[in-house]
Homo-oligomer: 382 residues x 2
């Protein structure tokens, strides 16, 4: 899932995202809550209507962002008091507030409000934090169940969410989010359509706590489960170890979402381990810094060596950037601080990531024993 | 002609420009000379190859930019010594150097090196400046004639430029630059293909000096003529008066190019007076400041009144921005300082300008006596 923080994948018009084959986007609740505000988005038909995007959207809970504010936040059992990074104004997020905001934004998939445990943390801290996340998950579920029909994009009322849950199970099974990308358009015209609320597993880097967190979250019962609290500074081997151990405790017939990863190699590897969904700012953020992913490795396009390089960025890539422009031109745009550098670099990096996942899905459908880039046998567990 | 200063219309991929119907772009020799440098562009196949743009390009002489540097330049009969706005390094532009640079860049239409007279200026200064421009025009023509076969995009040699000149006459006659936009691709495969060098009329706001400048420039003999030195701070009525008076002295069977104008109303008016070509940074620069041209007038999209406006930017506009996004979304993108604001605003403003000229051309073809927006009868002189 490409990240579209405040209702836009930075620099890319929505029709280009469609052409790239983006079927689901991530929006950040924290950013959207501050600007333009949930009420504005709701009145404009939810995030889908506001940004004119008919395919699927997932919003995070805002938890990760407010925990990243460090100096600007205070946490207690009730929730998190924080100050806006924009104007310093005071705000409060709780499981209930986060659900309220996410229902107002109206994404297809929304996330329970969790506490992202910092790294490093001692075992006591990891346990306390994991237990709080479990209590917040139950509060998130309760509020959601009581208010889930207050969606901006539905006019009919009530009924089970089984239609959507069924489609998401299919998505999990095939690791193919394409179908999920079409559920809202279908579901919103049906009675009973609503959002899917996913739970989040925490527990730091402790495998026992991860197991316990998984069990407690599953007990609450969600249509999908995320692994949170990773990619927070721990070594890559630890990330992989925790992912692998946690996946064992998550139901295989529901989507399993690994939050905040990773490089092209990593997403292929994690998909091989059985992860169905991932999001990461890396392809878009790296693009803005002139770092481009190619079939021949990572390229820093700002380097003078590309100044007269008439070759395409990645000869193996079929994206509109590689098909049309030279490395020399891309290098010039970056060196001249031109906005088109960001636009073209982002298009390419997103294309490279989507191609990577396309190949992964293709391999899974073929039932192959290996994944591209993953460098090992990593057949999804049966 | 949209302005693509350093080989890019800021923020807009070339395929979107093609979809918008852009058939000719302006590049700034001063900027391209400094970055990435003429030699780099030449080695990449000229500006067409470098930026991957097969349609027509016009480059200015660099004169206007170096004269705008004020503190950083010294002028004498030989040329202009100036300091780069990027790093303060010293450079020298003369008619010969400007031609050399423009031949290296390889645009379809290039401009004689002129002195843009400042406003206000006394008659003595206007005369001196106009006479220098005439001498520089002769030097530009001489250098061009001796070096015009050193183009980056031709491999064959010699021959008359009549094929291209003929097509440009057609363009002038119909005020339709579409055909000019296709001459390079055709011409570059023919022996004898070369660029078209246009002369520039100066003379400040003095109508007698403008007439004299026109006569002296025509005597040198160019395939097209530009009116320079306007839109430099003078009142709009004066601009119009000078344009109208100068056009009377320019041949009607060759393209007449008014440099650096204007608003949508102005370009329609000037086309009605008989101007065939115009360039302006206004649509693209205004877009970056959130100023949008619509059929209902100019809109400043940053205003809070648009925060919950679900209507399209311009209901009468068929561009991809007006067809897909709301004013509320465009306002949000601008307020959040998102790059997509610049991209979408630029697409709309360019579309509005191109639509304006499309309507003008349509009116001319129909032989109507009035022009849209021009508010008067302004049939091109026979």
């Amino acid at each position: 899932m490409p990240v579209g923080t405040v209702g836009t994948v930075k620099g890319i018009p929505q029709d280009l995202l469609e052409e790239l084959g983006v079927n689901i986007l991530l929006g950040n609740t924290y950013h959207l809550y501050l600007r333009p505000g949930v009420e504005t988005v709701r009145e404009m038909g939810g995030l889908h209507g506001f940004m004119s995007w008919d395919r699927a959207i997932l919003t995070d809970s805002g938890g990760f962002q407010v925990f990243s504010l460090n100096e600007l936040r205070k946490v207690n059992e009730e929730g998190v008091t924080f100050r806006s990074h924009l104007d310093g104004s005071a705000h409060f997020f709780s499981p209930e507030n986060s659900m309220k905001a996410q229902i107002g934004l109206g994404a297809d998939i929304i996330m329970a409000f969790d506490e992202c445990t910092e790294f490093p943390a001692d075992r006591e801290r990891m346990r306390t934090s994991m237990e709080r996340t479990a209590r917040w998950a139950a509060r998130s579920k309760k509020y959601f169940d009581e208010h889930k029909h207050g969606l901006p994009w539905r006019t009919t009322h009530a009924g089970p969410a089984s239609v959507r849950a069924g489609k998401l199970q299919l998505a999990a099974h095939t690791a193919e989010l394409r179908s999920a990308g079409r559920t809202r358009a279908t579901a919103s015209t049906q009675e009973g359509a609503t959002q899917s609320l996913f739970g989040i597993v925490q527990g730091g880097m402790d495998l026992d706590l991860r197991r316990e967190s998984a069990e407690r979250t599953i007990e609450i019962d969600f249509p999908g489960y995320a692994i949170g609290g990773l990619s927070v500074g721990e070594p890559r081997e630890v990330t992989r170890e925790v992912v692998e151990a946690t996946l064992e405790h998550l139901p295989k017939d529901k989507p399993r979402y690994l939050m905040g990863v990773g490089t092209p190699q990593e997403i292929a590897t994690y998909a091989g381990l059985g992860v169905d969904m991932m999001d990461c700012v890396l392809p878009t953020r790296a693009a803005r810094h002139g770092l481009l992913f190619t079939s021949e490795g990572k390229i820093s396009i700002k380097q003078a060596r590309y100044a007269k390089d008439s070759g395409s960025l990645d000869p193996a890539c079929a994206c509109r950037v590689c098909q049309r422009y030279s490395r020399a031109y891309l290098r010039h745009l970056y060196a001249a601080n031109e906005v088109l550098a960001q636009v073209l670099n982002t298009i390419h990096n997103l294309s490279f990531y989507l191609d990577t996942m396309h190949t992964v899905r293709h391999s899974i459908r073929l039932g192959e024993g290996t994944r591209p880039h993953s460098g090992g046998s990593s057949q999804p567990k049966p």
